[in-house]
């Protein structure tokens, strides 16, 4: 059950991320806007991250049959997704990711001294913080522009954050229903992200020349 859900989640994540990333890239090529460049990097990273994890699950499902994904592949995929979440948060104007050197040490050093399994949970917690930041900033934007599409994106990011939190929290209750709820929440979150994007006219957007 979890395995099938994981494959669905990662395929949905790969597809949604790729579509939004391509659209942002077309926008960047046409306008040279730094915002669209950051969104391109963000969503292509998210797409690649989901793709890596998805390939890991499918590889095991079709060839290895061990019943679990290689933890290194899972960590790599989640790490690439976190880069994407960072760029979404960064687009909203994070002034400095590592404000002081002691914070840098507290974040980077543990990555080198704790076992591989914990790295995944640290990355999940970083993703959670970035997604919460992105959600709050998007809600603030909604307060200004009152666009329904913005509240969809805020809900999507919020559900992804909740999914990451539940996934991370499931370490306390392994093999419980928490992990399935986490994956389902993330699938709904990705769906919510895609709803407003699907309404933006994608046709007739080809345009040459960067101004």
């Amino acid at each position: 059950m979890e395995f099938v859900l994981e494959i669905i989640l990662n395929l949905v994540g790969f597809g949604v991320g790729l579509l939004i990333g391509i659209f942002a890239h077309i926008g960047f090529k046409n306008t040279g806007s730094p915002t669209l460049f950051r969104l391109t990097v963000a969503f292509l990273s998210i797409s690649i991250g989901f793709g890596v994890v998805g390939l890991g699950y499918m590889g095991d499902s079709f060839f290895i049959h061990s019943g679990k994904i290689e933890s290194g592949i899972q960590t790599l995929g989640i790490g690439i997704q976190t880069v994407g979440y960072f760029f979404i948060a960064f687009s909203h104007g994070i002034k400095s990711f590592f404000p002081k050197s002691r914070y840098l040490k507290s974040i980077v050093v543990p990555l080198f001294i704790i076992p591989g399994n914990s790295i995944e949970h640290i990355i999940r917690s970083i993703s959670f913080i970035l997604l919460v930041y992105g959600t709050i900033e998007t809600i603030m934007s909604y307060m200004e522009n009152r666009k329904t599409s913005t509240i969809f994106v805020a809900s999507g990011l919020g559900l992804l954050a909740l999914g990451e939190f539940l996934g991370w929290y499931s370490i306390v209750f392994p093999k419980s229903v928490l992990y399935v709820i986490s994956i389902s929440t993330k699938i709904v979150g990705l769906g919510a992200l895609f709803v407003p994007i699907s309404k933006v006219p994608l046709r007739g957007m080809k345009f040459g020349g960067n101004i």
Binding site: N30, S91, H92, K147, I197
Partner: protein
């Protein structure tokens, strides 16, 4: 009311919108008219107008006393695309 920072792209959007929707006569809009409508300095608008003419988004027409600017068909297409991308960025609570 809080001042809103306008990005380079939004200024270009404003100029193109003005040359499409609000030109005072058939010959196009003068620099002075565009400065007033887009609310930017002469130095800055001159560079932007030069780029827009080079890119084929604006047409420069000679008038009795000064150059005037009209939106080209390519400019209209660009403006339509720009609005789509702006809508896309605003969905994320961002500005292009």
């Amino acid at each position: 009311m809080a001042a809103t920072y306008r990005t380079h792209m939004s200024i270009i959007g404003d100029i193109l919108t003005t040359t499409r929707d609000e030109i005072p006569d058939e010959a196009g809009a003068s620099v002075t008219y565009l400065i007033r409508k887009a609310n930017i300095s002469y130095g800055r608008i001159s560079k932007i107008l030069e780029t827009l003419v080079q890119q084929g988004l604006l047409e420069q027409t000679s008038s009795y006393r000064a150059c005037k600017y009209k939106i080209s068909s390519r400019g209209r297409e660009f403006l339509q695309a720009y609005r789509g991308f702006r809508e896309f960025a605003e969905t994320f609570g961002l500005r292009i």
